[in-house]
């Protein structure tokens, strides 16, 4: 039992905006009151947030694990976590080890994360890794938009059967949601092609287009009633002029819920790299008017990172542009995953536009509930740099200081200089916690109402926003103090959220031969056993009538 007194509480879901009040914790949850015997933390001069929730990150799975092996030089540069009696060792950096991932997230007050891209064959592997990510709670999205079985069904208009297949695959992979990456494009990349336009037929199909895949999947997910809507990484990522593709994608989603991942990468105008500019205003305008959509920013920060994505075509382009090392992972799998170490530089106009676009979206999307903080870790920047973005959002002056280093040409391509909006702490609590929790459909997360999970971050009130959010005074996970005065106090195992959508068992007989043919493994050997998922917690679907 624990009582936190004297702190300013920011709990947007319950309309609490910086009022000083006690937060009580019993049995891992927020309670109305606790007895006198409870330990009391004096949080005077501090602010209290619900623990951060990351709706889109890549921290476990074949791709990030490949990136780890590709960046030994980066591991050497970072501060190392030393083993203790209770804590495993780890290395941070661009692709942190699993243990370090848990320490680093908790170390800045984040307590829940969503691994956004799990190739179906990697599901078992991903869960094995997630078991070794301590402290935080986890969920993951399984990739479906280039799944050959699903695509064949969509091609033939067999939506009902596709729904059954999707439901089976979600449960078999012990996923929480469905991710669509470059729908049809990754399938085409297996032929060295891409799918850039929504209405273009996907290479290898007669009539299937990215548009049909998006609408089909969004409809399936709504019908299954998944708590998290279709998690969409739009086609044509990162390419100049791609904002039209993004607008088309958003239009094709009318009438359905959807979450648009790393929207920044999909908001570019221009015809080529020389004329590339920000088109965030067009994106934000449409987005503001359509409440069926949520998004995460996919913001970019200047500096080193390693880019990994299931979007093979984009990765190969990046490799050609940069000439740096490149790894392309490919199994019997619908992911042509690429990995390229990359440095974003303010002197580079393209990078400057990317940097500005992420911030512009966060500032121009009016409803903070519908846009979450993300960097598409590690693609735009590493997650442990989130505090720097919060500082940029909260201070227009700081943004101007940063822009001073950029060329005039770069400034002509962006809208950021005109934007004066500054985030309040209340709004920060929305985009870092309350909003993403709501987008994920995790009703016990992202707020401090009675009965919510006691996942709490307590920060010093500090003028230096970046410092403030980098060094929480206390982080509480499920009622347990895990970080205190910058030290890791405990490393409990987190929980994993899993969905079991309904499907007819007859679908297994349909799937078996297709599955065995596609994936060269036995159907029975595929499903991830529930007991292999650390502290699995089943969440309900509410199927549409």
């Amino acid at each position: 039992m624990l009582r936190i007194t004297g702190g300013r509480v920011y709990d947007p879901a319950n309309g609490v905006d910086g009022q000083i009040r006690d937060v009580c914790i019993a049995d891992g949850r927020i309670a109305a009151a606790v007895g006198d015997g409870a330990r009391t933390l004096d949080a005077s001069g501090m602010v209290i947030f619900p623990g951060g929730v990351d709706v889109h990150t890549h921290v476990a799975g074949g791709a990030i694990n490949f990136a780890r092996a590709m960046t030994p030089e980066d591991h050497r540069r970072t501060v190392a976590f030393i083993r203790t009696q209770t804590q495993r060792s780890g290395l941070g950096g661009m692709a942190p080890t699993t243990f370090a991932t848990g320490y680093l997230y908790a170390g800045m007050g984040w307590t829940t994360l969503n691994e956004a891209a799990v190739p179906i064959l990697s599901a078992k592997h991903t869960h094995e890794e997630l078991r070794d990510v301590p402290i935080v709670d986890k969920s993951c999205c399984v990739l479906m938009a280039n799944n050959e079985i699903v695509l064949d069904l969509l091609e033939n208009g067999e939506l009902e059967r596709a729904k059954q297949v999707v439901a089976w695959q979600i449960w078999a992979s012990k996923a929480y949601g469905v991710k669509a990456v470059n729908p049809g494009g990754v399938a085409a990349w297996k032929w060295g092609k891409d799918a850039k336009q929504l209405s273009e037929t996907v290479e290898g199909y007669r009539k299937l287009t990215p548009g049909t895949i998006i609408t089909g999947l969004a409809q399936i997910i709504d019908e299954l009633g998944l708590p998290h809507p279709l998690h969409l990484h739009c086609n044509n990522l990162g390419a100049p002029g791609n904002y039209t593709t993004t607008l088309e994608s958003m239009k094709s989603l009318e009438g359905h819920r959807a979450h648009l991942a790393h929207l920044q990468y999909h908001a570019y105008g221009g015809d080529d790299w020389n004329t590339m500019r920000s088109e965030t205003e067009a994106i934000a305008d449409y987005f503001n008017a359509h409440s069926n959509l949520t998004a995460d920013a996919g913001a970019v920060l200047f500096g080193n990172t390693v880019t990994i994505t299931a979007d093979g075509p984009w990765q190969h382009l990046l490799y050609k542009l940069t000439g740096r090392k490149w790894g392309n992972l490919d199994v019997e799998n619908e992911t042509g995953c690429g990995i390229v170490p990359y440095t974003y530089r303010p002197s580079n106009i393209v990078n400057a536009v990317q940097w500005a676009s992420g911030l512009e979206l966060l500032l121009m999307i009016k409803d903070p509930w519908r846009v979450s903080l993300s960097t598409d870790h590690p693609n735009g920047a590493c997650f442990w740099r989130y505090p720097e973005i919060l500082q940029l959002l909260m201070s227009a002056d700081f943004r101007r200081d940063c822009m001073a280093k950029m060329s005039e040409e770069a400034k002509r391509r962006i809208r950021l200089p005109e934007l004066d909006r500054e985030y309040s702490l209340f709004e920060i609590a929305i985009i870092t916690s309350a909003g993403p929790a709501r987008a994920l459909g995790l009703s016990n997360k992202g707020h401090l109402g009675i009965g919510a999970d006691a996942d709490i971050a307590v920060y010093n009130q500090d003028q230096d926003i970046s410092r403030m959010f980098s060094h929480p005074r206390y982080v509480i996970k499920h009622g347990e103090i895990v970080i205190e005065e910058g030290e890791i106090r405990a490393t409990p195992l987190g929980r994993s959220y899993v969905i079991k959508p309904q499907y007819e068992s007859t679908i297994e007989e349909y799937l078996r031969p297709l599955f065995e043919d596609c994936y060269t493994m036995q159907f029975e050997n595929y499903p991830v056993e529930l007991e292999r998922v650390e502290h699995a917690e089943l969440r309900n679907c509410i199927p549409a009538e």
Binding site: A60, G62, N65, F66, R68, A69, P72, H75, R76, R77, T78, V79, A80, F81, I82, R83, T84, Q85, Q87, R88, S89, G90, L91, G93, A95, P96, T97, T98, F99, L121, S122, K124, H125, E128, D132, E148, W189, K190, W191, G192, G204, H316, Y319, K320, W326, G327, N328, L329, D330, V331, E332, G336, E487, I488, D517, C518, T520, M521, N525, E529
Partner: protein, 308 residues
């Protein structure tokens, strides 16, 4: 690749004898969705230093002189980019420039090419640079078509070891924890080097029999220091060890998970009950005994700037 690979290259490996079902189940024979005629829709190239049983399965066999893999791969990289190659020196590899140009043409024309490389490449002179050469070639071919390269792992679950070390430590093998956090330096912390230099003073060996395979100076050092072996059999290494513990056989009498060489994990379903404990259980029990001994790391800070 089962469904798409129309050009399959095996380099320095003998799948017919070492991975008998690789041809039939995975890469060569199966009819794929986009290769309806199976084997007929694929071209298979075998590159090796001698004629093995795999040659029969190949459309094209390129026999190169021993120890010239790196040169051949480097020449291929140059030809791919239309760069200069000294024709007189090409002959020293055992191949002609025409053969190599033809190979590059086929690579570029392929819709989906795959190169599997075996220990004949990765364990011969040049070692990691040979692997690096074939991976780089594959990456560069992606400028023309879809191409991948993949090692043909020899033993059961070596891929699992690789994958697990990567996520727990950030590095794939050869990791030292002596400073309380993982450090990686092949050549320094790799087993043969450590043993040959005599730089380690105790060894726990499981799932391997170095006493049968390593160079003699390495084996001599294992015999000098306290060596502990976990194995289902009494092995060569067990005979020179201080301690041998018999364990259940992976996948036959010990359950768990194993990784396929393409990093896909599969469940192991044992058919027998072993009278012996599993490796997992023995290692855990050793760990429990070590855990209660005084910790060598008590006075360290929790995080540190790295030495290296």
């Amino acid at each position: 690749m089962r469904n798409r690979a129309d050009l399959v290259i095996y380099w320095g490996g003998n799948p017919a004898e070492c991975h008998p079902r690789h041809f039939t189940k995975y890469a060569l024979m199966p009819k794929g969705k986009h290769l309806p005629r199976g084997r007929k829709d694929r071209t298979m190239v075998l590159v090796d230093i001698r004629e093995t049983k795999s040659v029969k399965a190949a459309d094209i066999f390129l026999q190169i002189r021993p120890g010239r893999d790196f040169e051949v791969l480097t020449i291929l990289r140059a030809i791919v980019k239309g760069q200069y190659v000294n024709p007189a020196m090409v002959a020293e590899t055992g191949l002609t420039i025409e053969q190599l140009r033809d190979l590059v043409d086929r690579m570029k024309r392929a819709r989906f090419g795959v190169m599997f490389f075996g220990m004949g490449l990765s364990m011969t002179r040049g070692k990691h640079m040979n692997s690096s050469a074939i991976l780089t070639l594959a990456a560069e071919l992606n400028a023309y078509t879809k191409f991948v390269a993949m090692p043909m792992r020899g033993h059961g679950n070596v891929t699992g070891a690789d994958v697990i070390m990567r996520w727990t430590t950030g590095y794939p093998f050869g990791i030292s924890f002596d400073r309380g956090y993982p450090r990686f330096n092949p050549g320094e912390f790799s087993t043969v080097d450590l043993l040959v230099r005599g730089d380690t003073d105790a060894a726990l060996i499981l799932g391997a029999d170095p006493g049968a395979t390593m160079p003699q100076p390495a084996i001599d050092h294992l015999a000098r220091i306290p060596t502990i072996v976990l194995d289902p059999k009494v092995t060569h290494t067990s005979r020179l060890a201080r301690v041998h513990i018999t364990t259940a056989v992976t996948g036959i009498s010990a359950p768990g998970t194993g990784y396929r060489m393409d990093e896909v994990p599969l469940p192991l379903r044992p058919a027998l009950k072993s009278p012996y404990p599993t490796d997992e259980e023995v290692v855990r029990r050793i760990h429990e005994l070590v855990r209660v001994k005084p910790d060598w790391l008590v006075h360290q800070p929790r995080t540190t700037q790295q030495v290296f």
